[in-house]
Protein backbone atom coordinates (compact mmCIF):
# COMPACT_ATOMS: atom_id res chain seq x y z
CA UNK A 1 0.00 0.00 0.00
CA UNK A 2 2.80 2.38 0.95
CA UNK A 3 4.71 1.69 -2.29
CA UNK A 4 1.56 2.03 -4.36
CA UNK A 5 0.72 5.30 -2.67
CA UNK A 6 4.24 6.59 -3.15
CA UNK A 7 4.21 5.82 -6.84
CA UNK A 8 1.09 7.75 -7.54
CA UNK A 9 2.27 11.31 -7.05
CA UNK A 10 1.11 12.68 -10.35
CA UNK A 11 1.10 15.83 -12.38
CA UNK A 12 -1.86 17.58 -13.95
CA UNK A 13 -3.90 14.86 -15.50
CA UNK A 14 -6.61 17.09 -16.89
CA UNK A 15 -4.31 19.68 -18.41
CA UNK A 16 -4.44 19.14 -22.16
CA UNK A 17 -1.99 21.86 -23.06
CA UNK A 18 -1.39 20.41 -26.52
CA UNK A 19 -5.04 20.24 -27.55
CA UNK A 20 -5.96 23.61 -26.08
CA UNK A 21 -6.40 26.26 -28.78
CA UNK A 22 -5.37 23.79 -31.49
CA UNK A 23 -8.20 25.19 -33.55
CA UNK A 24 -8.06 22.72 -36.44
CA UNK A 25 -9.23 19.91 -34.16
CA UNK A 26 -12.88 19.70 -33.02
CA UNK A 27 -11.68 18.42 -29.64
CA UNK A 28 -10.40 21.93 -28.91
CA UNK A 29 -14.07 22.94 -28.59
CA UNK A 30 -14.28 20.80 -25.48
CA UNK A 31 -11.49 22.81 -23.91
CA UNK A 32 -12.76 26.20 -25.08
CA UNK A 33 -16.25 26.39 -26.60
CA UNK A 34 -15.31 29.87 -27.78
CA UNK A 35 -12.38 28.76 -29.87
CA UNK A 36 -12.04 29.68 -33.54
CA UNK A 37 -13.82 27.11 -35.70
CA UNK A 38 -12.38 26.74 -39.16
CA UNK A 39 -14.52 23.93 -40.43
CA UNK A 40 -18.20 23.57 -41.35
CA UNK A 41 -18.94 20.11 -40.10
CA UNK A 42 -17.21 17.36 -38.17
CA UNK A 43 -17.90 13.95 -36.83
CA UNK A 44 -15.57 11.97 -34.66
CA UNK A 45 -15.14 8.31 -35.49
CA UNK A 46 -17.43 6.76 -32.81
CA UNK A 47 -15.47 5.45 -29.82
CA UNK A 48 -12.23 6.54 -31.47
CA UNK A 49 -12.42 10.31 -31.68
CA UNK A 50 -10.56 10.90 -28.45
CA UNK A 51 -8.80 8.71 -26.00
CA UNK A 52 -7.12 10.57 -23.18
CA UNK A 53 -5.00 8.94 -20.56
CA UNK A 54 -2.68 10.34 -17.99
CA UNK A 55 -0.79 8.85 -15.15
CA UNK A 56 2.19 10.30 -13.41
CA UNK A 57 4.55 10.46 -10.55
CA UNK A 58 5.32 13.47 -8.45
CA UNK A 59 7.99 13.74 -5.82
CA UNK A 60 9.30 10.26 -6.40
CA UNK A 61 9.18 8.06 -9.44
CA UNK A 62 9.48 4.37 -10.23
CA UNK A 63 13.22 4.71 -10.65
CA UNK A 64 13.67 6.28 -7.21
CA UNK A 65 12.14 3.19 -5.59
CA UNK A 66 12.99 0.35 -7.95
CA UNK A 67 16.36 1.42 -9.40
CA UNK A 68 18.64 -1.60 -9.73
CA UNK A 69 21.36 0.15 -7.76
CA UNK A 70 22.09 -2.31 -4.97
CA UNK A 71 20.47 -0.10 -2.32
CA UNK A 72 17.91 -1.53 0.07
CA UNK A 73 14.37 -0.80 -1.17
CA UNK A 74 13.30 -0.11 2.41
CA UNK A 75 15.86 2.68 2.73
CA UNK A 76 14.61 4.18 -0.53
CA UNK A 77 11.00 4.07 0.67
CA UNK A 78 11.95 5.66 3.98
CA UNK A 79 13.70 8.49 2.12
CA UNK A 80 10.69 8.99 -0.13
CA UNK A 81 8.34 9.12 2.85
CA UNK A 82 10.40 11.86 4.42
CA UNK A 83 10.58 13.79 1.14
CA UNK A 84 6.87 13.76 0.27
CA UNK A 85 4.27 15.92 1.97
CA UNK A 86 0.51 15.93 2.18
CA UNK A 87 0.12 18.38 -0.70
CA UNK A 88 1.63 15.84 -3.09
CA UNK A 89 -1.02 13.95 -4.88
CA UNK A 90 -1.95 11.26 -7.31
CA UNK A 91 -4.25 12.09 -10.15
CA UNK A 92 -5.46 9.80 -12.82
CA UNK A 93 -7.80 10.73 -15.59
CA UNK A 94 -9.06 8.70 -18.49
CA UNK A 95 -11.57 9.87 -21.06
CA UNK A 96 -13.09 8.05 -23.98
CA UNK A 97 -15.22 9.89 -26.48
CA UNK A 98 -18.17 7.88 -27.69
CA UNK A 99 -19.57 10.51 -29.96
CA UNK A 100 -18.51 13.93 -31.15
CA UNK A 101 -20.24 15.84 -33.90
CA UNK A 102 -20.82 19.39 -35.05
CA UNK A 103 -22.14 21.51 -37.86
CA UNK A 104 -22.37 25.12 -38.89
CA UNK A 105 -25.75 26.72 -39.27
CA UNK A 106 -25.37 28.73 -42.44
CA UNK A 107 -28.19 31.11 -41.51
CA UNK A 108 -26.68 32.52 -38.37
CA UNK A 109 -23.10 31.28 -38.73
CA UNK A 110 -23.22 29.51 -35.40
CA UNK A 111 -21.36 26.28 -34.99
CA UNK A 112 -23.22 23.69 -32.93
CA UNK A 113 -21.47 20.69 -31.46
CA UNK A 114 -22.34 17.88 -29.14
CA UNK A 115 -21.47 14.42 -28.06
CA UNK A 116 -20.81 12.11 -25.19
CA UNK A 117 -17.74 10.88 -23.39
CA UNK A 118 -16.96 8.65 -20.49
CA UNK A 119 -14.64 9.95 -17.80
CA UNK A 120 -12.81 8.49 -14.85
CA UNK A 121 -11.27 11.03 -12.55
CA UNK A 122 -9.33 10.33 -9.39
CA UNK A 123 -7.33 12.48 -7.03
CA UNK A 124 -5.71 11.25 -3.87
CA UNK A 125 -3.44 13.42 -1.79
CA UNK A 126 -0.54 11.64 -0.20
CA UNK A 127 -1.76 10.72 3.30
CA UNK A 128 1.64 11.40 4.76
CA UNK A 129 0.76 11.10 8.43
CA UNK A 130 -1.21 7.88 7.91
CA UNK A 131 1.68 6.46 5.89
CA UNK A 132 4.19 7.52 8.55
CA UNK A 133 2.10 5.90 11.28
CA UNK A 134 1.77 2.68 9.30
CA UNK A 135 5.38 2.58 8.11
CA UNK A 136 7.29 3.80 11.16
CA UNK A 137 4.85 3.51 14.06
CA UNK A 138 4.14 6.03 16.82
CA UNK A 139 7.33 5.92 18.85
CA UNK A 140 9.79 7.90 16.78
CA UNK A 141 9.44 10.67 17.58
CA UNK A 142 7.11 10.51 20.55
CA UNK A 143 4.95 13.63 20.61
CA UNK A 144 4.50 13.78 16.86
CA UNK A 145 1.03 14.87 15.84
CA UNK A 146 -0.56 12.70 13.18
CA UNK A 147 -3.04 14.74 11.17
CA UNK A 148 -6.00 12.50 10.34
CA UNK A 149 -7.19 15.18 7.91
CA UNK A 150 -4.45 13.89 5.60
CA UNK A 151 -7.02 11.49 4.20
CA UNK A 152 -8.18 13.42 1.13
CA UNK A 153 -9.22 11.62 -1.99
CA UNK A 154 -12.02 11.54 -4.48
CA UNK A 155 -12.95 9.44 -7.48
CA UNK A 156 -15.80 9.30 -9.93
CA UNK A 157 -16.75 7.44 -13.07
CA UNK A 158 -19.36 9.13 -15.19
CA UNK A 159 -20.79 9.78 -18.61
CA UNK A 160 -20.89 13.34 -19.87
CA UNK A 161 -23.46 14.38 -22.46
CA UNK A 162 -22.88 17.80 -23.91
CA UNK A 163 -24.19 20.24 -26.44
CA UNK A 164 -22.84 23.67 -27.20
CA UNK A 165 -22.64 26.53 -29.62
CA UNK A 166 -19.90 28.72 -30.96
CA UNK A 167 -20.43 32.08 -32.59
CA UNK A 168 -18.13 34.55 -34.22
CA UNK A 169 -19.61 37.80 -32.91
CA UNK A 170 -17.43 40.05 -35.05
CA UNK A 171 -14.00 40.11 -36.66
CA UNK A 172 -12.37 40.15 -33.27
CA UNK A 173 -14.55 38.17 -30.88
CA UNK A 174 -15.64 34.56 -30.94
CA UNK A 175 -17.60 33.15 -28.00
CA UNK A 176 -19.17 29.86 -27.11
CA UNK A 177 -20.84 27.89 -24.37
CA UNK A 178 -21.69 24.29 -23.68
CA UNK A 179 -24.24 22.60 -21.45
CA UNK A 180 -23.29 19.33 -19.84
CA UNK A 181 -25.38 16.65 -18.20
CA UNK A 182 -23.41 14.32 -15.97
CA UNK A 183 -24.73 10.79 -15.56
CA UNK A 184 -22.72 9.23 -12.83
CA UNK A 185 -21.88 5.55 -12.61
CA UNK A 186 -20.11 5.47 -9.24
CA UNK A 187 -18.17 7.76 -6.95
CA UNK A 188 -16.67 8.24 -3.53
CA UNK A 189 -15.21 11.17 -1.68
CA UNK A 190 -13.22 11.45 1.50
CA UNK A 191 -12.31 15.11 1.46
CA UNK A 192 -13.70 16.62 4.67
CA UNK A 193 -11.67 14.95 7.37
CA UNK A 194 -9.99 16.31 10.44
CA UNK A 195 -8.58 15.34 13.81
CA UNK A 196 -5.23 14.34 15.25
CA UNK A 197 -3.66 11.37 16.92
CA UNK A 198 -0.81 12.13 19.28
CA UNK A 199 1.27 10.24 21.81
CA UNK A 200 2.58 12.55 24.51
CA UNK A 201 5.33 11.68 26.92
CA UNK A 202 4.25 12.44 30.47
CA UNK A 203 6.94 12.94 33.09
CA UNK A 204 4.48 13.70 35.86
CA UNK A 205 1.47 12.01 34.31
CA UNK A 206 -0.38 8.93 35.40
CA UNK A 207 1.51 6.72 32.98
CA UNK A 208 4.48 6.94 30.63
CA UNK A 209 2.43 8.30 27.74
CA UNK A 210 -0.91 9.83 27.03
CA UNK A 211 -2.46 8.73 23.71
CA UNK A 212 -4.89 11.30 22.37
CA UNK A 213 -7.45 11.11 19.61
CA UNK A 214 -8.65 14.69 19.34
CA UNK A 215 -11.70 16.00 17.50
CA UNK A 216 -11.83 13.12 15.05
CA UNK A 217 -14.15 13.77 12.13
CA UNK A 218 -13.65 11.25 9.34
CA UNK A 219 -16.20 11.13 6.52
CA UNK A 220 -16.30 8.84 3.52
CA UNK A 221 -19.27 9.17 1.19
CA UNK A 222 -20.04 6.72 -1.60
CA UNK A 223 -22.69 6.49 -4.26
CA UNK A 224 -23.29 3.68 -6.71
CA UNK A 225 -21.36 1.25 -4.54
CA UNK A 226 -23.73 -0.32 -2.04
CA UNK A 227 -26.18 -1.87 -4.50
CA UNK A 228 -23.36 -3.77 -6.16
CA UNK A 229 -21.67 -4.67 -2.87
CA UNK A 230 -24.70 -6.00 -1.06
CA UNK A 231 -26.17 -8.19 -3.76
CA UNK A 232 -23.88 -11.19 -3.61
CA UNK A 233 -25.87 -13.12 -6.19
CA UNK A 234 -25.62 -10.46 -8.86
CA UNK A 235 -24.18 -11.80 -12.10
CA UNK A 236 -21.62 -10.12 -14.29
CA UNK A 237 -24.30 -9.53 -16.89
CA UNK A 238 -26.54 -7.83 -14.35
CA UNK A 239 -23.67 -5.63 -13.20
CA UNK A 240 -23.05 -4.56 -16.80
CA UNK A 241 -26.73 -3.86 -17.27
CA UNK A 242 -26.84 -1.78 -14.10
CA UNK A 243 -23.74 0.22 -15.06
CA UNK A 244 -25.08 0.89 -18.55
CA UNK A 245 -28.38 2.01 -17.05
CA UNK A 246 -26.58 4.48 -14.81
CA UNK A 247 -24.55 5.76 -17.78
CA UNK A 248 -27.84 6.38 -19.59
CA UNK A 249 -29.26 8.81 -17.01
CA UNK A 250 -30.29 6.01 -14.61
CA UNK A 251 -27.86 7.02 -11.87
CA UNK A 252 -27.10 10.24 -10.06
CA UNK A 253 -27.32 13.27 -12.30
CA UNK A 254 -25.55 16.58 -12.46
CA UNK A 255 -25.40 19.71 -14.52
CA UNK A 256 -22.51 21.78 -15.75
CA UNK A 257 -21.48 24.46 -18.19
CA UNK A 258 -18.41 25.42 -20.20
CA UNK A 259 -17.86 28.84 -21.65
CA UNK A 260 -15.05 30.63 -23.36
CA UNK A 261 -13.91 33.20 -25.88
CA UNK A 262 -11.26 34.10 -28.38
CA UNK A 263 -10.37 37.75 -28.98
CA UNK A 264 -8.17 39.14 -31.71
CA UNK A 265 -5.89 41.88 -30.46
CA UNK A 266 -3.68 44.09 -32.63
CA UNK A 267 -0.68 42.86 -34.60
CA UNK A 268 -1.83 39.24 -34.82
CA UNK A 269 -1.98 38.73 -31.10
CA UNK A 270 -4.87 36.54 -29.98
CA UNK A 271 -6.11 36.00 -26.46
CA UNK A 272 -8.31 33.09 -25.36
CA UNK A 273 -9.92 32.02 -22.11
CA UNK A 274 -12.29 29.32 -20.98
CA UNK A 275 -13.94 27.80 -17.94
CA UNK A 276 -14.98 24.18 -18.24
CA UNK A 277 -16.84 21.75 -16.02
CA UNK A 278 -18.38 24.42 -13.84
CA UNK A 279 -20.97 22.11 -12.39
CA UNK A 280 -22.15 19.71 -9.76
CA UNK A 281 -23.56 16.25 -9.25
CA UNK A 282 -26.34 15.47 -6.77
CA UNK A 283 -25.84 12.09 -5.14
CA UNK A 284 -29.19 10.81 -3.94
CA UNK A 285 -29.41 7.26 -5.27
CA UNK A 286 -27.56 4.33 -3.78
CA UNK A 287 -25.76 6.55 -1.27
CA UNK A 288 -23.91 5.23 1.75
CA UNK A 289 -21.74 7.43 3.93
CA UNK A 290 -19.55 6.51 6.86
CA UNK A 291 -18.64 8.84 9.70
CA UNK A 292 -16.39 8.53 12.71
CA UNK A 293 -16.46 11.40 15.22
CA UNK A 294 -15.26 12.10 18.72
CA UNK A 295 -12.30 12.39 21.05
CA UNK A 296 -10.67 9.88 23.36
CA UNK A 297 -7.63 9.77 25.63
CA UNK A 298 -5.91 6.58 26.71
CA UNK A 299 -3.33 6.22 29.45
CA UNK A 300 -3.51 2.50 30.08
CA UNK A 301 -5.43 0.53 32.68
CA UNK A 302 -5.31 1.52 36.34
CA UNK A 303 -4.46 -1.50 38.48
CA UNK A 304 -4.13 -2.41 41.27
CA UNK A 305 -6.30 0.25 42.86
CA UNK A 306 -8.06 -1.63 45.63
CA UNK A 307 -8.65 -5.19 46.64
CA UNK A 308 -11.06 -6.39 44.04
CA UNK A 309 -11.41 -10.01 42.93
CA UNK A 310 -12.58 -9.04 39.45
CA UNK A 311 -13.13 -5.79 37.65
CA UNK A 312 -14.51 -5.93 34.11
CA UNK A 313 -12.83 -3.36 31.92
CA UNK A 314 -15.09 -1.15 29.89
CA UNK A 315 -12.35 -0.03 27.55
CA UNK A 316 -14.13 -0.97 24.31
CA UNK A 317 -17.41 0.51 25.54
CA UNK A 318 -15.61 3.68 26.58
CA UNK A 319 -14.10 4.04 23.14
CA UNK A 320 -17.46 3.44 21.48
CA UNK A 321 -19.09 5.96 23.77
CA UNK A 322 -16.57 8.64 22.93
CA UNK A 323 -15.83 7.81 19.29
CA UNK A 324 -19.13 7.58 17.49
CA UNK A 325 -19.25 5.72 14.18
CA UNK A 326 -22.28 5.96 11.97
CA UNK A 327 -23.52 4.90 8.55
CA UNK A 328 -26.05 7.14 6.80
CA UNK A 329 -27.83 7.39 3.46
CA UNK A 330 -28.03 11.16 3.32
CA UNK A 331 -27.83 12.81 -0.10
CA UNK A 332 -24.85 14.95 -0.86
CA UNK A 333 -23.60 17.16 -3.66
CA UNK A 334 -20.13 17.29 -5.17
CA UNK A 335 -18.64 19.95 -7.37
CA UNK A 336 -16.96 18.95 -10.58
CA UNK A 337 -13.25 19.73 -10.84
CA UNK A 338 -13.61 23.03 -12.68
CA UNK A 339 -10.82 23.92 -15.10
CA UNK A 340 -9.69 27.33 -16.29
CA UNK A 341 -7.56 27.75 -19.41
CA UNK A 342 -6.14 30.86 -21.00
CA UNK A 343 -3.65 31.72 -23.69
CA UNK A 344 -1.93 34.55 -25.48
CA UNK A 345 -0.89 33.70 -29.02
CA UNK A 346 1.10 35.57 -31.64
CA UNK A 347 0.50 34.47 -35.22
CA UNK A 348 3.29 34.91 -37.75
CA UNK A 349 4.69 33.46 -40.97
CA UNK A 350 1.95 34.41 -43.40
CA UNK A 351 0.93 31.62 -45.75
CA UNK A 352 1.74 32.24 -49.38
CA UNK A 353 -1.09 30.53 -51.13
CA UNK A 354 -0.03 30.36 -54.70
CA UNK A 355 -1.20 26.88 -55.56
CA UNK A 356 -4.92 27.32 -55.06
CA UNK A 357 -6.69 26.30 -51.92
CA UNK A 358 -8.04 22.80 -51.86
CA UNK A 359 -7.46 22.46 -48.17
CA UNK A 360 -10.26 21.46 -45.87
CA UNK A 361 -10.48 24.60 -43.85
CA UNK A 362 -12.76 27.26 -45.05
CA UNK A 363 -10.38 29.73 -46.56
CA UNK A 364 -6.89 31.02 -46.22
CA UNK A 365 -8.35 34.09 -44.63
CA UNK A 366 -8.95 32.01 -41.54
CA UNK A 367 -5.65 30.14 -41.74
CA UNK A 368 -3.69 33.19 -42.62
CA UNK A 369 -0.54 32.39 -40.74
CA UNK A 370 1.36 29.15 -40.70
CA UNK A 371 3.02 29.62 -37.34
CA UNK A 372 2.28 30.85 -33.88
CA UNK A 373 3.87 31.02 -30.49
CA UNK A 374 2.57 32.00 -27.12
CA UNK A 375 1.86 31.13 -23.55
CA UNK A 376 -0.94 29.15 -21.93
CA UNK A 377 -2.07 28.90 -18.35
CA UNK A 378 -4.13 26.20 -16.72
CA UNK A 379 -5.76 25.88 -13.34
CA UNK A 380 -7.94 23.22 -11.85
CA UNK A 381 -9.89 23.25 -8.61
CA UNK A 382 -9.06 20.38 -6.31
CA UNK A 383 -9.84 19.51 -2.67
CA UNK A 384 -6.73 21.24 -1.31
CA UNK A 385 -7.19 24.29 -3.55
CA UNK A 386 -6.38 25.17 -7.14
CA UNK A 387 -3.48 23.70 -9.06
CA UNK A 388 -1.64 25.71 -11.69
CA UNK A 389 0.43 25.07 -14.80
CA UNK A 390 1.96 27.29 -17.45
CA UNK A 391 3.16 26.41 -20.94
CA UNK A 392 5.13 28.00 -23.74
CA UNK A 393 4.03 26.72 -27.10
CA UNK A 394 5.01 26.80 -30.72
CA UNK A 395 2.54 25.95 -33.45
CA UNK A 396 3.49 25.27 -37.04
CA UNK A 397 1.62 24.21 -40.12
CA UNK A 398 4.32 22.10 -41.76
CA UNK A 399 2.26 21.86 -44.89
CA UNK A 400 -1.37 21.53 -45.84
CA UNK A 401 -1.97 18.13 -44.28
CA UNK A 402 0.38 18.21 -41.34
CA UNK A 403 0.32 20.56 -38.39
CA UNK A 404 2.25 20.36 -35.18
CA UNK A 405 2.38 21.97 -31.80
CA UNK A 406 5.15 21.72 -29.25
CA UNK A 407 4.80 22.74 -25.61
CA UNK A 408 7.13 23.29 -22.72
CA UNK A 409 5.15 23.09 -19.51
CA UNK A 410 6.06 24.11 -16.00
CA UNK A 411 3.90 23.33 -13.03
CA UNK A 412 4.39 23.04 -9.28
CA UNK A 413 6.36 19.86 -9.73
CA UNK A 414 7.81 19.44 -13.21
CA UNK A 415 10.11 21.88 -14.96
CA UNK A 416 10.99 19.93 -18.06
CA UNK A 417 7.74 18.72 -19.55
CA UNK A 418 8.06 18.81 -23.34
CA UNK A 419 5.03 17.80 -25.40
CA UNK A 420 4.27 17.36 -29.07
CA UNK A 421 1.03 17.13 -31.02
CA UNK A 422 0.79 16.05 -34.63
CA UNK A 423 -2.39 16.35 -36.64
CA UNK A 424 -2.65 14.81 -40.07
CA UNK A 425 -5.34 15.34 -42.65
CA UNK A 426 -5.82 13.10 -45.61
CA UNK A 427 -8.76 14.47 -47.48
CA UNK A 428 -11.56 14.67 -44.85
CA UNK A 429 -9.95 12.13 -42.60
CA UNK A 430 -8.05 13.48 -39.62
CA UNK A 431 -5.81 11.72 -37.19
CA UNK A 432 -4.07 13.34 -34.26
CA UNK A 433 -1.78 12.17 -31.54
CA UNK A 434 -0.40 14.14 -28.62
CA UNK A 435 2.01 13.16 -25.90
CA UNK A 436 3.88 15.09 -23.25
CA UNK A 437 6.92 14.44 -21.09
CA UNK A 438 8.68 13.23 -24.23
CA UNK A 439 12.12 13.62 -22.69
CA UNK A 440 11.25 10.87 -20.23
CA UNK A 441 10.15 8.30 -22.78
CA UNK A 442 13.70 6.98 -23.08
CA UNK A 443 13.18 5.58 -19.60
CA UNK A 444 9.62 5.82 -18.37
CA UNK A 445 10.76 4.65 -14.94
CA UNK A 446 12.23 8.13 -14.45
CA UNK A 447 9.11 9.91 -15.73
CA UNK A 448 7.12 12.10 -13.40
CA UNK A 449 4.08 11.87 -15.58
CA UNK A 450 3.01 10.72 -19.01
CA UNK A 451 -0.02 11.81 -20.95
CA UNK A 452 -1.35 10.65 -24.28
CA UNK A 453 -4.30 11.74 -26.39
CA UNK A 454 -5.19 10.48 -29.80
CA UNK A 455 -8.22 10.20 -32.05
CA UNK A 456 -9.77 10.10 -35.48
CA UNK A 457 -12.21 12.58 -37.00
CA UNK A 458 -13.91 13.36 -40.24
CA UNK A 459 -13.69 17.09 -40.79
CA UNK A 460 -15.49 18.94 -43.58
Amino acid sequence: MVVFTLLGMAGFSQNKELLYDFVELPQSLLLNPGTEVRFDKHIGIPLMSQFHFNVGVRGVNVFDIFADDGRDINVKISEALVKLDNRDYTTFTQQLELLNFGWRNEKNGMYFSGGAYQELDFIGYFPKDYATLVYFGNEDPVGKEFDLGDLKSKAEVLMVYHFGFNKKINDRLTTGARLKIYSEIASYKATDNSGVFRTEQEEDGRNIYKHLLEDININVATSGYVALKEDEDITEKEVSKELISRALFGGNLGLGVDFGLTYQLEDNWVVTASVTDLGFIVHSKDVESYQVRGSYNFEGFETPTKNDPIRVLTFVDDVRENIDSDTTNTSYTTLRPTKINGSLRKNFNKIKNNDGCDCWWKSDKEQEYASAFGIQVFSQFRPRGPQFAGSLFLYHRVFRGLRAKATFTVDEYSFHNVGLLLSTDISKFNFYVAANNLTDYANLAKANSASVQFGFNLIF
Binding site: Y135, F136, G300, P304, T305, L313, D425, I426, A435, N443
Partner: protein, 188 residues
Amino acid sequence: MNTKKIALISTSICIAFLVLISCVKDVDFNQTKDLKIEPVYELDFVYSRIETAKFTNPVGGFMPVLRDTLQDEFFSGDVGDKLLKAELFVSLENSIPVGFDAELQFLDGNDNVIPISISPITITVPAGNLGNEQRVEQTYSFILQDFELLQSAEKLASSVTIEGNDNDLDGELILKSKAIYYTSLLDE
Protein backbone atom coordinates in the same frame (compact mmCIF):
# COMPACT_ATOMS: atom_id res chain seq x y z
CA MET B 1 5.57 12.11 -53.32
CA ASN B 2 2.44 14.14 -52.53
CA THR B 3 1.88 15.96 -49.28
CA LYS B 4 -0.76 13.49 -48.06
CA LYS B 5 1.74 10.68 -48.16
CA ILE B 6 4.35 12.85 -46.47
CA ALA B 7 1.88 13.72 -43.72
CA LEU B 8 1.01 10.09 -43.17
CA ILE B 9 4.63 8.99 -43.16
CA SER B 10 5.73 11.83 -40.87
CA THR B 11 3.06 11.06 -38.29
CA SER B 12 3.74 7.35 -38.49
CA ILE B 13 7.46 7.91 -37.98
CA CYS B 14 6.80 10.09 -34.94
CA ILE B 15 4.47 7.50 -33.37
CA ALA B 16 6.90 4.68 -34.16
CA PHE B 17 9.74 6.72 -32.66
CA LEU B 18 7.73 7.30 -29.51
CA VAL B 19 6.85 3.63 -29.21
CA LEU B 20 10.37 2.45 -29.97
CA ILE B 21 12.19 4.72 -27.57
CA SER B 22 9.71 4.33 -24.75
CA CYS B 23 10.91 1.77 -22.32
CA VAL B 24 11.47 1.10 -18.67
CA LYS B 25 15.03 0.19 -17.84
CA ASP B 26 17.58 -0.08 -15.04
CA VAL B 27 14.86 -1.10 -12.60
CA ASP B 28 14.29 -4.31 -10.69
CA PHE B 29 10.72 -4.92 -9.57
CA ASN B 30 11.78 -8.12 -7.79
CA GLN B 31 12.94 -5.87 -4.98
CA THR B 32 9.36 -6.00 -3.66
CA LYS B 33 10.23 -9.36 -2.14
CA ASP B 34 12.68 -7.53 0.16
CA LEU B 35 10.06 -5.03 1.19
CA LYS B 36 9.46 -4.79 4.90
CA ILE B 37 6.91 -2.72 6.73
CA GLU B 38 7.82 -3.07 10.37
CA PRO B 39 6.42 -0.24 12.43
CA VAL B 40 6.95 -0.09 16.18
CA TYR B 41 4.07 0.96 18.36
CA GLU B 42 4.35 1.91 22.01
CA LEU B 43 1.19 1.87 24.06
CA ASP B 44 0.54 2.49 27.72
CA PHE B 45 -0.26 -0.65 29.69
CA VAL B 46 -1.04 -0.48 33.40
CA TYR B 47 -0.46 2.24 35.94
CA SER B 48 -1.19 2.90 39.57
CA ARG B 49 -0.39 5.31 42.41
CA ILE B 50 -0.42 3.61 45.78
CA GLU B 51 -0.23 5.04 49.28
CA THR B 52 0.20 2.83 52.32
CA ALA B 53 -3.35 3.63 53.46
CA LYS B 54 -4.51 1.27 50.73
CA PHE B 55 -3.09 -1.64 52.73
CA THR B 56 -5.84 -1.17 55.27
CA ASN B 57 -8.31 -4.03 55.41
CA PRO B 58 -11.88 -2.76 54.82
CA VAL B 59 -13.02 -4.70 57.85
CA GLY B 60 -10.20 -3.25 59.90
CA GLY B 61 -6.53 -3.92 60.43
CA PHE B 62 -3.57 -4.29 58.10
CA MET B 63 -3.31 -6.38 54.93
CA PRO B 64 0.07 -6.91 53.26
CA VAL B 65 -1.15 -7.45 49.66
CA LEU B 66 -3.21 -5.23 47.38
CA ARG B 67 -4.71 -7.47 44.72
CA ASP B 68 -6.83 -6.57 41.71
CA THR B 69 -7.97 -8.48 38.61
CA LEU B 70 -9.02 -6.88 35.34
CA GLN B 71 -11.11 -8.74 32.85
CA ASP B 72 -10.82 -8.04 29.13
CA GLU B 73 -9.73 -9.64 25.87
CA PHE B 74 -6.24 -8.29 25.92
CA PHE B 75 -5.02 -10.09 22.81
CA SER B 76 -8.14 -10.57 20.72
CA GLY B 77 -8.09 -11.07 16.97
CA ASP B 78 -4.98 -11.87 14.98
CA VAL B 79 -2.71 -9.28 16.59
CA GLY B 80 -0.21 -12.00 17.39
CA ASP B 81 0.12 -12.88 13.69
CA LYS B 82 1.51 -9.44 12.97
CA LEU B 83 4.00 -9.37 15.85
CA LEU B 84 7.71 -9.96 15.40
CA LYS B 85 8.36 -9.44 19.06
CA ALA B 86 6.94 -7.54 21.98
CA GLU B 87 8.30 -6.12 25.17
CA LEU B 88 6.80 -4.95 28.40
CA PHE B 89 8.50 -2.06 30.15
CA VAL B 90 7.64 -1.62 33.82
CA SER B 91 8.77 1.17 36.11
CA LEU B 92 8.31 1.40 39.88
CA GLU B 93 9.16 4.61 41.72
CA ASN B 94 9.04 4.49 45.48
CA SER B 95 9.13 7.38 47.97
CA ILE B 96 7.80 5.29 50.87
CA PRO B 97 10.36 4.13 53.44
CA VAL B 98 9.59 0.43 52.91
CA GLY B 99 10.20 -1.86 49.93
CA PHE B 100 7.53 -3.34 47.63
CA ASP B 101 7.10 -6.31 45.29
CA ALA B 102 4.79 -5.93 42.30
CA GLU B 103 3.51 -8.83 40.21
CA LEU B 104 1.49 -9.15 37.00
CA GLN B 105 0.01 -12.36 35.62
CA PHE B 106 -2.21 -13.20 32.69
CA LEU B 107 -5.04 -15.63 33.44
CA ASP B 108 -7.36 -17.61 31.21
CA GLY B 109 -11.14 -17.86 31.63
CA ASN B 110 -10.74 -20.43 34.41
CA ASP B 111 -8.31 -18.26 36.36
CA ASN B 112 -5.36 -20.45 35.44
CA VAL B 113 -2.07 -18.62 35.02
CA ILE B 114 -1.00 -18.61 31.39
CA PRO B 115 2.53 -20.02 31.39
CA ILE B 116 4.23 -17.47 29.15
CA SER B 117 8.01 -17.32 29.28
CA ILE B 118 8.13 -14.21 31.45
CA SER B 119 5.42 -15.25 33.89
CA PRO B 120 5.18 -14.20 36.65
CA ILE B 121 6.22 -10.65 35.88
CA THR B 122 7.73 -9.50 39.16
CA ILE B 123 9.62 -6.40 40.11
CA THR B 124 10.98 -5.31 43.46
CA VAL B 125 11.71 -1.77 44.54
CA PRO B 126 13.65 -0.91 47.69
CA ALA B 127 12.57 1.58 50.34
CA GLY B 128 12.78 5.23 49.33
CA ASN B 129 12.06 8.61 50.82
CA LEU B 130 10.33 11.78 49.75
CA GLY B 131 13.06 13.64 47.86
CA ASN B 132 15.08 10.46 47.51
CA GLU B 133 12.83 8.23 45.46
CA GLN B 134 14.01 4.80 44.43
CA ARG B 135 13.26 3.83 40.86
CA VAL B 136 13.51 0.39 39.30
CA GLU B 137 12.89 -0.18 35.61
CA GLN B 138 12.63 -3.56 33.97
CA THR B 139 11.98 -4.66 30.38
CA TYR B 140 10.50 -8.11 29.76
CA SER B 141 10.73 -9.69 26.33
CA PHE B 142 8.04 -12.03 25.10
CA ILE B 143 9.03 -14.95 22.91
CA LEU B 144 7.02 -15.96 19.82
CA GLN B 145 5.24 -18.86 21.56
CA ASP B 146 3.93 -16.42 24.18
CA PHE B 147 1.74 -14.71 21.61
CA GLU B 148 -0.10 -17.93 20.88
CA LEU B 149 -0.59 -18.66 24.57
CA LEU B 150 -1.83 -15.14 25.21
CA GLN B 151 -4.71 -15.59 22.74
CA SER B 152 -6.56 -17.23 25.65
CA ALA B 153 -5.80 -14.42 28.12
CA GLU B 154 -8.99 -13.03 29.59
CA LYS B 155 -7.76 -11.53 32.80
CA LEU B 156 -4.82 -9.60 34.15
CA ALA B 157 -4.09 -10.15 37.82
CA SER B 158 -1.95 -7.51 39.54
CA SER B 159 -0.70 -7.39 43.07
CA VAL B 160 1.56 -5.20 45.17
CA THR B 161 3.04 -6.56 48.41
CA ILE B 162 4.33 -4.21 51.09
CA GLU B 163 7.26 -5.09 53.35
CA GLY B 164 6.55 -4.79 57.04
CA ASN B 165 3.14 -4.05 58.48
CA ASP B 166 2.83 -0.27 58.67
CA ASN B 167 0.03 1.33 56.68
CA ASP B 168 0.57 4.88 57.82
CA LEU B 169 3.75 5.96 56.06
CA ASP B 170 4.40 9.03 53.94
CA GLY B 171 5.19 8.76 50.29
CA GLU B 172 3.83 7.08 47.21
CA LEU B 173 4.53 4.04 45.04
CA ILE B 174 4.12 4.87 41.35
CA LEU B 175 3.68 2.03 38.88
CA LYS B 176 3.95 2.84 35.18
CA SER B 177 4.25 0.53 32.20
CA LYS B 178 4.07 0.36 28.46
CA ALA B 179 3.98 -2.36 25.86
CA ILE B 180 6.24 -2.13 22.82
CA TYR B 181 4.95 -3.95 19.76
CA TYR B 182 7.39 -4.70 16.93
CA THR B 183 5.08 -5.56 14.05
CA SER B 184 5.42 -6.80 10.50
CA LEU B 185 2.49 -5.73 8.35
CA LEU B 186 3.41 -7.74 5.26
CA ASP B 187 2.73 -11.43 5.06
CA GLU B 188 5.81 -13.53 4.50
